[in-house]
């Protein structure tokens, strides 16, 4: 399986000379299974360049949304395959307690927020309320679980040939924990992360920043490192960078995090354009 990062920024697209290396586009990751199955994780602004890269190929696209915060769906209207009548697009995402995925997504894909309505898109669109537990997408198996973040939010583990990739871009496992990390069975996100080959995880804040944003649904990098250690992952990719963090600042944060001692996994600064073989 292969993964490409098309958007690594959290909360708000943040273009500018100070964010060129890590990237300013919001959450979007392309996953290719060994059988060619295409999964797109989240539809942040990074999905626009992915759409251009796909060209006219890919008769079927599978989009897995972790949740419906704006930074994870904003790229939808700018994903060219949705405007091609011959393409089958499956979208999975969490329903709320009272509305299904279609109703929730229509709130954005309709005027006045967007001129084109979801139902008017020419591609063959199928929307699925994401099942909690597991389901198959092409030749890939997906595990999904609710994780700690405001509103229904899921984390995904994608399995292919005995390998797995876990994607939890927005996650606050330390919320309300009197100590963290603690027992794995009482840690949000553990079930979809333990032993994973590549964990792409929220690292929005520094510890002082986290103290000011408890309950906002994100992790300090120290929390994520502790979480990755607990889950015994092989590689950790930092993700959902705060819009205020410049490239220089992110370099500094990562260097500091890596210098705290030998880590039992490879720590990789998540930058737009990076590719991983899993």
């Amino acid at each position: 399986m292969k993964a490409t990062l098309w958007g690594t920024r959290g909360s708000l697209a943040s273009a500018g000379p100070e964010t060129v290396r890590y990237g300013g586009n919001t959450s979007c990751v392309e996953v290719r299974g060994s059988d060619g199955t295409l999964i797109v994780l989240d539809a942040g602004t990074g999905i626009r360049r992915l759409g251009a890269a796909l060209g006219a190929e890919a008769p079927q696209i599978n989009i897995l949304l972790t949740h419906l915060h704006m930074d994870h769906i904003q790229g939808f209207g700018f994903f060219p395959p949705l405007y091609r009548p011959n393409i089958e697009v499956h979208i999975w995402g969490p329903p709320s307690l009272t509305h299904d995925l279609r109703t929730r997504l229509t709130r954005y894909l309709s005027p006045p927020l967007f001129p084109v309505r979801l139902r008017d898109l020419p591609s063959r669109l199928a929307l699925h309320d994401v099942p909690l537990g597991g389901f198959d997408v092409g030749g890939l198996h997906v595990d999904s679980a609710l994780v700690t973040h405001p509103g229904p939010t899921v984390g995904y583990r994608i399995r292919d040939n005995g390998r797995s990739l876990t994607y939890i871009p927005d996650h606050e496992p330390a919320l309300g924990a009197t100590r963290f990390p603690w027992r794995s069975d009482w840690t949000s996100g553990y079930a979809v992360s333990h032993g994973t080959d590549l964990l792409i995880h929220d690292t929005q804040y520094t510890m002082p920043e986290y103290a000011e944003h408890v309950g906002w649904g994100h992790s300090a990098i120290d929390h994520t490192i502790a979480f990755a250690r607990l889950a015994r992952v092989r590689r950790l990719v930092t993700f959902h960078h705060d819009p205020s963090h410049s490239d220089a600042e992110l370099d500094r944060l990562l260097e500091k995090a890596a210098s705290t001692g030998p880590l039992p996994f490879e720590l990789i600064p998540g930058m737009e354009g990076m590719q991983f073989e899993i």
Binding site: P95, W186, Y190
Partner: protein, 131 residues
């Protein structure tokens, strides 16, 4: 079990901050957690008592009615809330593991998660003797 449901994790975290005694069980009735204020009523720190099956906790605290007649498990609000999937309430007497008998109000409610999954029951106790 690899990991508790996230709603149950959050319930425990909330309970660990609240000053009311709270007792949480899983869908099979196994005790998952009680908080520090509940420790005072039940007479033993949770860390010592640990997780226990319903058959054990339902008699460990010798529940009885207000006239001291022993109550079977099915008469307990917690068990009722679990079996009938609706809130249940009752004034009962319990004897803590410290041997002290207390009159408490119990209000139990099912924890129903996304998609209607029954995740367990949470009960709030109210110590009537000390209020």
């Amino acid at each position: 079990m690899l990991q508790q449901e996230v709603e149950v994790i959050l319930m425990r975290q909330l309970a660990s901050y609240l000053a009311m005694p709270i007792f949480v069980v899983d869908p099979s009735g196994n005790l998952l957690f009680y908080n520090e204020p509940a420790e005072a009523l039940l007479g033993r720190p949770f860390d010592e008592a640990g997780e226990m099956p319903m058959a054990e906790w339902a008699i460990a605290f010798s529940p009885s009615d207000e006239e001291d007649r022993p109550l079977p498990p099915e008469a307990l609000p917690l068990v009722n809330a679990l079996r009938r999937r609706r809130p249940a309430h009752r004034t009962i007497r319990i004897t803590g593991l410290d041997g002290i008998s207390r009159r408490i109000e119990t209000m139990a409610f099912p924890l129903v998660g996304q998609g209607g999954r029954l995740l367990g029951v949470a009960a709030i106790f109210w110590d009537l003797d000390s209020r």
